[in-house]
């Protein structure tokens, strides 16, 4: 983990992650909208990676979809391949993708409009394993953290009041260069 003193998320943000306890994580960089979780997992803190069909944001492959399959294809284009184990292996670096199988489909605002913070089966998050086995995550536009387990960020919230990442759905690995 990074050097002390340790920093943590503001309480209202930490509450979005019911499994994220202070002994399991620390904030390592301040909040910024300059990059997101996918960019960080891909090793890029200079721009935001999004598969938006309008092409406003950076995405390295031609297929642009908010699906787990598309995110896997993107990481495969970077040399990663699917694997099943999240444990640290000496010669490999790993990333993990999260998705939310439930979503927030019950969240409706005053206009009667669906307020889809989390769409079912949307990929919600990507995290990268550091050389020491700890995971490195950028939490949306919020802070960057290091967390000891993948489960730290698990959670589902159907109220639409919180961010929720669901759970890890795919691990990918790449040989260290």
């Amino acid at each position: 983990m990074a050097s002390s003193p340790k920093r943590y998320l503001p309480q209202e943000r930490e509450e979005n992650f019911p499994c994220l306890t202070k002994n399991l994580y620390e904030v390592t960089r301040d909040e910024t909208i300059d990059y997101n979780c996918i960019a960080l997992a891909a090793g890029d803190r200079t721009r935001r990676w999004e598969p938006d069909p309008s092409g406003v944001y950076y995405w390295p492959i031609s297929k642009r979809e908010y699906t787990v399959e598309c995110f896997v294809e993107m990481f495969e284009s970077l040399g990663y391949q699917k694997c099943k184990c999240s444990l640290k292996k000496r010669l490999f670096e790993k990333v993990a993708l999260y998705y939310d199988p439930v979503g927030c489909v019950e969240a409706v605002d005053n206009f009667g409009l669906w307020h889809p913070e989390v769409l079912p089966n949307f990929p919600t998050h990507a995290t990268k394993q550091l050389l020491n086995g700890i995971w490195n995550s950028k939490l949306g536009d919020w802070e960057e953290i290091e967390h000891r387990t993948l489960r730290c960020l698990n959670g589902t919230d159907i109220t639409g009041k919180r961010s929720s990442y669901g759970k890890p759905v795919q691990i990918l690995k790449r040989a260290l260069s």
Binding site: R13, N16, I33, D34, N36, C37, A39, T46, R47, R48, W49, E50, D52, P53, S54, G55, V56, Y57, Y58, W59, Y66, V105, V108, D109, F111, G112, L113, W114, H115, P116, E117, V118, L119, P120, N121, F122, T124, H125, L139, G140, D141, W142, R162, S163, Y165
Partner: protein, 173 residues
């Protein structure tokens, strides 16, 4: 209320998907929600393309609602409306993990529904602090973007490009 100056839409999932298509890809020159001058009863909704199968998730159909009397709003009223919607959008999407979710927020969609007259307020807001206004701007500028392809995703350069475009086109003082 002048029927011809009202933007209407039905808040069904298909309408939301159409708005998202508008915001996230289907910006082929026409707005998905059209002025109802030729069709006062209900707007024409573009074919939803963005969420595909997921757009079939039903949340129920509601009566047609009036979103805004765009043509009768003064600039001051429009700016107040923008500020209210912008504040709500930022407050409620700060923890969202993807732009796709952020631009589906009703407040963001309502800003887009007001049309290109919202561009100066968006640029002014962008000038104060970068935020995820780029999809709204591209939508309102009829699929035009001043951002170089190699700068896609670079928030600082995207912001600079849009502000420069706004100044050059008289939309930002």
């Amino acid at each position: 209320m002048d029927e011809q100056n009202v933007i209407r839409f039905v808040p069904t999932i298909s309408a939301i998907a159409a708005m998202s298509a508008l915001a996230l890809g289907d910006v082929s020159g026409n707005t998905a929600i059209q002025n109802t001058a030729q069709e006062p009863a209900q707007s024409t909704i573009a074919t939803p393309i963005f969420f595909g199968e997921q757009s079939a998730i039903a949340v129920g159909s509601e009566p047609t609602i009036t979103i805004a009397e765009c043509n009768t709003e003064t600039d001051q009223e429009l700016e107040m409306n923008f500020n209210r919607l912008s504040k709500k959008w930022k407050a409620e999407t700060s923890g969202y993990y993807s732009v796709a979710s952020m631009v589906m927020h009703p407040a963001y969609l309502e800003i887009i529904s007001h049309g290109e007259k919202m561009i100066p307020f968006i640029l002014k807001d962008l000038q104060q602090k970068p935020s995820h206004w780029f999809i709204a701007l591209k939508t309102l500028a009829k699929n035009y973007s001043p951002v170089k392809p190699e700068d896609a995703g670079n928030i600082k350069k995207m912001t600079e490009a849009w502000l420069a475009w706004g100044r050059a086109n008289g939309k930002l003082s």
